[in-house]
Symmetry: C2
Amino acid sequence: MSSGVLTIGDLSKATGTKVETIRYYERIGLLPAPDRTSGNYRAYGKSDLGRLSFIRRARDLGFGLEQVRELLGLSDQKQRSCEAVDVIARDHLADVDRKLADLKALRRELDSIIRRCGRGTIGECRIIEALAPIDPRH
Amino acid sequence: MSSGVLTIGDLSKATGTKVETIRYYERIGLLPAPDRTSGNYRAYGKSDLGRLSFIRRARDLGFGLEQVRELLGLSDQKQRSCEAVDVIARDHLADVDRKLADLKALRRELDSIIRRCGRGTIGECRIIEALAPIDPRH
DNA sequence: CTGCACCCTGTAGTAACTACAGGGTCAACA
DNA sequence: TGTTGACCCTGTAGTTACTACAGGGTGCAG
């Protein structure tokens, strides 16, 4: 495969995405169906690489596929849709902050359990009682 | 339903868990099968509430169901040597620390997106380009 | 010309729920 | 007493975001 043409395997290696996942993204319309070679192989270009990189990165940041689709749509129509992107990102940030706080709390609890445990107070490892406040969230 | 007995709906409300999810947890053995009333309703107690609270909290923090199962095992096997418990707990602590680092990094990214996007001049929003570096991760 | 790595389609499996369908139970209210 | 209406039951099938085959074709190196 010469010049700027990439196989699905090239895309896979370049982005760290499994080949099956790339085909899946095509199936659900996140990636456009590429041209085919004479042997029916998918022939990708540079723009496909960029688009897939974006998808992977957004997924890595915890955006759902529908959110990614929305973000891609916003960038496809090169209008001033910055506000919409901002809303999506802010929404996600709030979620991350909540998880961060919870995780810090869990870390503290786990750490104190380890300290109690290490000192040999057998039978006092009450992890559930420590970690399951009756306080319901959501 | 009088005294300390809770219906599945009570548990659902108290923990923010869907009724179907509670039954699912029972099916896969995360929650013990509770006693039944004369009308075949599930009758839960306080300890079930605590256990479910813990499961939800751990799930919310990104632990998989198998990890949750292991964490629950920490508290169930109280007669176990403290040293063994300590090893498992430390392992989970490492896991928590990794998640914390990931989330912090994610938070930074999102925050920078929002700052560039929300405050930036409309029409200079290059979020998609910013999010899709040719640099492949993983 | 024969391996072998790679590609193709299609289907089915995974985790962790979530949503019905079709029916039973229970407390309240007229 | 009867009848709503909210709640419960089991069982099955759908969802999200992949992942893993099965069964077969392509392309290049030796």
